[in-house]
Symmetry: C2
Subunit: 160 residues, 2 copies
């Protein structure tokens, strides 16, 4: 199966991967979240070949993840994350957290995240929007829309 | 630059991507989180070619994300997520949430997540482990270990 077909599949994971599920693309996004906006800075910091970087940036602009603009109304070209792009932060930060947890060498995680809101070093946690409890795989059910009502009934009967 | 070099880079995002940053791998993980454990089920649900699936599963076992075992001590071969594998849930669920938000068609998100803990349909949110506030890109600073103390001082002076 080709990725174009997978992207059409009725699955939000597959659809997201069709847009950002390429490793160089993720590294470009990492740089953008670290504050980079210029072609040459993306290139230097990722080591990506210039032609591939150009193609990836074009695709990210086409998908509305970057907005292409001139700095200060006339300078060099910048690639700025749109709201859609900024909303990819949880994806990047989840990859970082997993790497910190399982792949960091003896020196520990290379980067720390400071949450300006509270001024503390933080580790991102995924929680339930309702109860605020941590969302771990074993406690989750993924249910198609058509089966939502019956799944809720089963859970209520089980006393969840 | 080749990915082997990128993976050695001192960056947890790059390291994670070197292990799971391939789209078919992510779809295999999606299936695992939906409860699948068997080669044929992975194959049917993703449409991935059998030789590629076999290679990806081998790599995931090698990296300690799946454990290979016989069902009920003697049946067919199963691929079970280890703790390291289960800990990838935030990555998958963040990709799903972004796709739900930005790429869902007119029918809306195809899958809903129910949190057994509270019995409610939930949307995963990324929050600060300290203050519980939402972690959004604009409020975050990524700081190398060596600069952590000075970054904290600057923030304190700024009254954050």
């Amino acid at each position: 199966m080709r990725w174009r077909a997978v992207a059409r599949a009725n699955c939000s994971v597959a659809r997201s991967l069709a847009v950002v599920g390429e490793r160089w693309t993720m590294l470009i996004l990492r740089e953008a979240f670290l504050g980079q906006r210029r072609f040459d800075d993306f290139q230097r910091n990722t080591g990506i070949a210039r032609n591939i970087l150009a193609a990836r940036l074009r695709a990210l602009v086409k998908h509305g993840i970057f907005q292409r603009a001139r700095a200060n109304g006339g300078g060099h070209i910048e690639y700025r994350l749109t709201d859609k792009g900024l909303d990819l932060y949880p994806v990047l930060v989840s990859l970082m957290r997993w790497g910190d947890q399982w792949l960091a060498g003896k020196d520990g995680p290379p980067l720390f995240l400071i949450h300006r809101g509270c001024g503390r070093t933080t580790r991102p946690a995924i929680v339930c929007t309702h109860c605020g409890g941590p969302l771990v795989a074993r406690e989750m059910l993924a249910v198609p829309r058509a089966k939502l009502a019956s799944a809720r009934r089963v859970l209520r009967r089980a006393g969840a």
